[in-house]
């Protein structure tokens, strides 16, 4: 791969206080690549995303984001949380949520300008929801809310994009729209890290897979990581054998 590295994990371990959450993550996400974080519940996927944002300290080894420690790269990194963690009754319009992606760029004390509104409108159009701009955020479906949060991230024009379980409980239309937008962003050179339960989706759409369960079981192309042996090792009892035809991973 000749593209420059965007995110580098070097034997990184992450801990909450003295409790280790995730150990020995090692691998590289290049610019323009989409890498899926895959593993059972509690595997440390969200923790790894928090570590990439500098919100959880790296206990040993190192994580480098765009050539810097994670906490210093935040302005060029956009984060997309799970839509259902947000209050659906919050008095805010779809357009305002997208505009929030520009706040860091605008800076303290200044109001958003013409260019910010244009960028927000463009980002909302990119996820196919321009017609819902004036609606209250909470009136949208779960999948549409997830798309709005992705639009907010795009409006920030990030060099790296981190998504926490964006496909959970999302309808097929919104899933397609999310995937298309993520692919377009990666094609534009952004490095994308997305945590997901959906192994099929990860296999079909990602350039790389990071298989986790408290520590790393594999990091590389889907064909090399999503193998029965590695999945069995990572998922343990949640992996069901199908004789010689492979195995099924049950969602925990």
């Amino acid at each position: 791969m000749s593209r420059p590295a965007a995110i580098v994990f070097d034997q990184a371990s992450v801990a909450y206080g003295r409790v280790p959450a995730l150990e020995q993550v090692h691998g590289t996400v290049h610019q323009g690549e989409i890498v899926a974080l895959v593993g059972p519940n509690g595997a440390g996927k969200s923790t790894l995303i928090k570590a990439l944002l500098g919100l959880v300290p790296v206990a040993s080894g190192s994580i480098s984001v765009l050539g810097r420690p994670p906490a210093l790269a935040r302005r060029q990194v956009a984060y997309v949380p799970q839509a259902d963690t947000l209050d659906p009754d919050f008095p805010v319009s779809v357009a305002q949520v997208v505009l929030m992606g520009r706040y860091r760029r605008i800076g303290w004390l200044r109001p958003p300008g013409r260019a910010d509104r244009d960028a927000a409108a463009e980002a909302l159009a990119a996820v196919g929801l321009a017609h819902r701009a004036a609606d209250r955020f909470g009136t949208l479906s779960g999948g549409q809310r997830q798309r709005v949060l992705l639009a907010r991230a795009i409006a920030a024009q990030p060099a790296a994009l981190l998504l926490d379980e964006p496909f959970n409980g999302v309808d097929a239309v919104s899933q397609e729209a999310l995937l298309a937008t993520i692919r377009a962003l990666a094609a534009g050179g952004a490095a994308v890290v997305v945590s997901t339960h959906d192994l099929g989706l990860a296999q079909l759409t990602c350039d790389g897979i990071c298989l986790l369960n408290r520590h790393q079981f594999g990091f590389g192309p889907p064909g090399e990581v999503l193998t029965p042996d590695l999945l069995r090792a990572a998922y343990g009892g949640a992996a069901l054998e199908l004789g010689d035809r492979g195995l099924i991973v049950a969602r925990s």
Binding site: R74, P81, T85, P91, Q96, W108, A134, R152
Partner: protein, 294 residues
């Protein structure tokens, strides 16, 4: 109405001005309290400020100065005890808040019981005494309101994002803890400023009530803020009018007006035609043009 006929009296004019100022301040700050679900913390701050009032009176310090200094100390204690917000192993905020609430109030009661013949004056601090507001209190209220409104307006983008999506706010590299502290100080300044009008106990109603009422009707934070300030002022003026008319305690009448606004709004919202009425105010899907205003 008795309120208008008694406007010739200086103390009634001062009381009216005070409830207007405090109504605006509490309405604006209350929006942030309601959106961030800090109602319980506000309750704690109002109760825990009470010993500050007692100490200030015992030492002969100015009421607002004493309560204000104690309030800043209190904010520091709450901030230190709750630990980094969002940290997985941070302490549970509501338990800390409950202990601070009851502990602060108990300290106030204990201090009060050591003073002979003290209790009558302190009733005023508990439930308010807006009709005895001094011109200097008015100046303090006006200055606090101007400063707090200025801070809230200057930080409105960041406060909005932090309230809506605290994870994304921290992830964007904003100093989330420092912004929380600024909001906590603004809240404590509001509590201290509302003391002369409604007292420590009822200040929470004036902060949370109008904002909670506005939230039932509004689909934008800007309209919610405007409506909360209007409800805060209206409740103050109505309460004062009721107090003058029927000779009931002003603090109680004001808080009852706040409660009435909230209950009536709840009832209207639950009626069959509550939905269209709310839609007319932009609560539901609106047909207006997109607004990308921050």
């Amino acid at each position: 109405m008795t309120l208008f006929s008694s406007l010739g009296d200086g103390y009634v004019r001062r009381a009216l001005l005070e409830v207007v100022i405090v109504g605006v301040l509490c309405g604006a700050v209350g929006v942030h309290v309601v959106l961030r679900r800090l109602s319980f913390l506000t309750m704690a701050l109002t109760h825990a400020t009470f010993p500050g009032v007692v100490i200030a009176t015992m030492l002969g310090l100015g009421l607002v100065l004493g309560a204000g200094l104690f309030g800043v100390l209190l904010v520091a204690v709450v901030a230190a005890l709750t630990g980094p917000r969002g940290a997985e192993h941070g302490r549970e905020t509501s338990s800390v808040t409950a202990v601070v609430l009851s502990g602060g109030f108990a300290l106030g009661m204990a201090l009060m019981s050591t003073q002979e013949g003290f209790s009558r004056d302190l009733t005023a601090f508990l439930v308010g005494s807006v009709l005895t507001v001094a011109p200097s209190d008015l100046v303090v209220s006006a200055v606090t309101t101007a400063v707090v409104l200025g801070v809230l307006a200057a930080l409105r983008k960041e406060l909005h994002l932090a309230a809506f999506d605290p994870d994304a706010f921290a992830a964007a590299g904003y100093p989330a803890r420092r912004l929380d502290l600024v909001l906590l100080l603004a809240l404590e300044a509001t509590v201290v400023t509302s003391l002369p009008a409604v007292g420590t106990i009822m200040a929470v109603a004036l902060i949370v009530g109008p904002a909670a009422t506005a939230r039932l009707w509004c689909s934008r934070t800007a309209t919610m803020t405007a409506m909360a300030m209007v409800v805060g002022v209206a409740a103050g003026v109505i309460g004062l009018a009721v107090s003058e008319q029927w000779n009931v305690a002003a603090g109680g009448a004001i808080v009852l007006s706040v409660a009435a606004f909230f209950v009536v709004s709840l009832v209207l919202q639950s009626l069959p035609w509550g939905e269209p009425a709310a839609a007319a105010l932009g609560r539901r899907k609106s047909a207006g043009r997109p607004t990308y205003s921050g």
